[in-house]
């Protein structure tokens, strides 16, 4: 039973365009959400996060949107760059526990 779902295994985008990565969750106790980026043979690195009291958080080219009623969040990358090509993981933290649950990831390819 997946609590955090990333239904698109891959996404291909042209350089300069917008990349939109989606994530759905089922556990209503999740109140903190994070996006991580991972290159092959490396550990994931933190990208951006959002608390459930907000619906948007921006950091440079990266913006995360949270729709609590739909239990959905998305990561927007504008403009996309070839260096953004990586696997992106969505993660969520449960307010009643100390765990951090990840989705399966979406592989983003940004083509020049």
């Amino acid at each position: 039973d997946q609590q955090v779902k990333q239904n698109s295994p891959s996404l291909s985008v042209q350089e300069g365009r917008i990349s939109i990565l989606n994530c759905d969750y089922t556990n209503s106790m999740f109140d903190y959400f994070l996006w991580y980026k991972k290159y092959p043979a490396e550990g994931p690195t933190f990208l951006i996060s959002i608390s459930s009291i907000k619906d948007k958080n921006e950091d440079g080219r990266f913006t995360v949107f949270l729709n609590k009623s739909a239990k959905h969040l998305s990561l927007h990358i504008v403009p996309s760059q070839p260096g953004d090509s990586a696997v992106y993981f969505c993660a969520a933290s449960d307010t009643s526990q100390g765990n951090l649950i990840f989705g399966k990831g979406t592989k983003l390819s940004v083509k020049p």
Partner: protein, 112 residues
């Protein structure tokens, strides 16, 4: 800045052998996590700890054990290794539940 250090980086085990994956962090973080990443399956939480002396099961704890005797160290023990435990293992730490987690470089384990 060492961050989160995992050893070893690679290991081949025979079926039935046991081993300990080491993880240490120098950031004085309270929370520590162990994940495994199988191809196409994202990161699955094995065990986590919210502080020294406290551990809790994650999504896939069977076949593993952990201990947290100090703030810095969070070793993962595999008893009676099985081929199904072939995976890449990541250790992570965070200051609190609602802060970013930092990951180690991973341990690639093969059980033959």
């Amino acid at each position: 800045n060492a961050g989160v250090t995992q050893t070893p980086k690679f290991r081949i085990l025979k079926i039935g052998q046991s081993m300990t994956l080491q993880c240490t962090q120098d950031m004085n973080h309270n929370y520590m996590y162990w994940y495994r990443q199988d191809p196409g399956m994202g990161l699955k939480l094995i065990y986590y700890s919210v502080g020294a002396g406290i551990t809790d099961k994650g999504e896939v704890p069977n076949g593993y054990n952990v201990s947290r005797s100090t703030t810095e160290d969070f070793p993962l023990r595999l008893e009676l290794a099985a081929p199904s435990q072939t995976s890449v293992y990541f250790c992570a730490s965070s200051y609190s539940r609602n802060t970013e987690a930092f990951f180690g470089q991973g341990t690639r384990l093969t059980v033959v």
